[in-house]
Chain length 243, copies 2
DNA sequence: GCCCATGCTGTTGTATACAACAGGCCATTC
DNA sequence: GAATGGCCTGTTGTATACAACAGCATGGGC
């Protein structure tokens, strides 16, 4: 009820809504590589696009910089940060540990209509197997993540998990786009993802949210291992050398 | 050499240093209750105090608002958030889980001079037993926390732990200041803290940083339990009712 | 006497002009 | 011809004027 009372506040609402809109839009563009690493963003361009001035835009950019997605340099520009799997190892290690807390802290069992959303994502994933598309895969991954976050009622946990997720989720698209065996890798990744979703949905239907955490943990760890292996070819000549 | 060239960059350095200074100062004031919950901060006053304009101050306030320490309301003011133990339960639950990760992820064993700092804090704690002082206790607690953070090399873990710590660490000072048996509670709390520090120092000297995490976890959980009990008297009439 | 409307005051949010800064271009010089 | 110095452009950081907003007091109407 307290939350609903806040909905009545009209003044700050439009301000916060605009901030949220710009923030989510830019974050999405960064994570889908619409703004690839190294891209320079001009504050005035963004201000014009969102029909506002630089001031609100700078608020958003400052937050994205806090989260490690941007870097503003005086006199140069605001640049999308580059990422490398080596620098993300710590984030992945933390994500692995925290993944288990979903389903452990304040577990929330989804209702029927929420399960339908899972089913819908699963069918979209099957369709993706027929017609692979990296961007759609990335979107699916993000939507699935946000759905998983609804399994816990612990708000700080949600916020932290989301922050860490968005610090790492670009790396897959970036690595994939640099790889030679693009289609093979993509198809394999989709297949793995499909299995993860299937397993997690099964675990939820069993009512055991702890298991969801374990599955998730395993998949995050394996995902990192695959990315790490792709960036560090095992001694002998690999398919393609990055760097 | 490349790193040293960046040391010559004067421009952004002073900007970031100023931001950091204002941020740390305000956060400290909030957490030491120099700015008690409900206090209204005027952006112009802060700007004058730090010899700058509202713009940089607003950057800091925005971040403190993100972290839940402030709340800006258009047309009203920027207000220090009020806190209640019930609303912090989720944060505490998360802190309990995350505490164990210190010493587990990328453990860093302190050197001799760092151990001396621990010893120095311990002696300050002993002195505090003789002459209890809530504010000095809070400071000691904060310094000890920051020292503990040096036990891990995982930077994201540090950042998250710090964020969660500062979301909760005011509640003790606030609860204590509202309590009747002020001195007794304070002395007991110092005593408990002294035991925690002693145990943790012993664990570090044994070289087992995992144990440090377990000790820390136990103490955070117990600290929450004591605060919760103080706010929710066990049915029958207690010493004093809050609310 | 009470109630409502309206203006007043003080605050945060926004827009914008200006300062500080980095990088590249070009002319000048050795 | 190459190197170096200064200028020039474009960008982010800062300061400040103005708009939007909430709360309160005050006065008029009933």
């Amino acid at each position: 009820m307290v939350a609903e009372m806040k909905m009545n506040v009209p003044g700050p609402r439009i301000s916060r809504a605009r901030f949220s809109h710009i923030y989510l839009t830019l974050r999405s563009r960064i994570c889908l590589l619409d703004y690839p690493p190294g891209q320079r963003l001009r504050e005035e361009d963004l201000a014009a696009e969102f029909h506002t001035s630089r001031t609100p835009v700078r608020r958003v950019l400052a937050r994205l910089e806090d989260e490690g997605l941007l870097r503003s340099v005086h006199g140069v520009g605001t640049i999308v940060t580059d990422i490398h799997i080596d620098e993300l190892q710590q984030v992945y290690q933390l994500r692995v540990e925290i993944a288990e807390l979903i389903g452990k802290l304040h577990p929330v069992h989804p209702g029927r209509e929420e399960m339908d959303v899972y089913k819908k994502l699963l069918s979209r994933c099957e369709a993706l197997m027929e017609k692979p598309d990296a961007r759609e895969f990335a979107r699916l991954n993000m939507e699935f993540f946000h759905l998983l976050m609804r399994l816990t009622g612990n708000e700080p946990l949600k916020a932290i998990s989301e922050r860490l997720y968005y610090q790492t989720n670009r790396i897959w698209l970036k690595t994939a786009s640099e790889l030679a065996q693009y289609d093979d890798v993509l198809l394999n990744e989709i297949s793995v993802f499909q299995r993860e979703m299937t397993d997690i949905v099964a675990a939820i239907e069993c009512g055991d949210l702890h298991v969801v955490g374990h599955i998730r943990r395993a998949h995050i760890a394996m995902s990192f291992a695959r990315l790490y292996a792709a960036a560090h070819p095992p001694e002998e000549a690999a398919g393609k050398d990055i760097v």
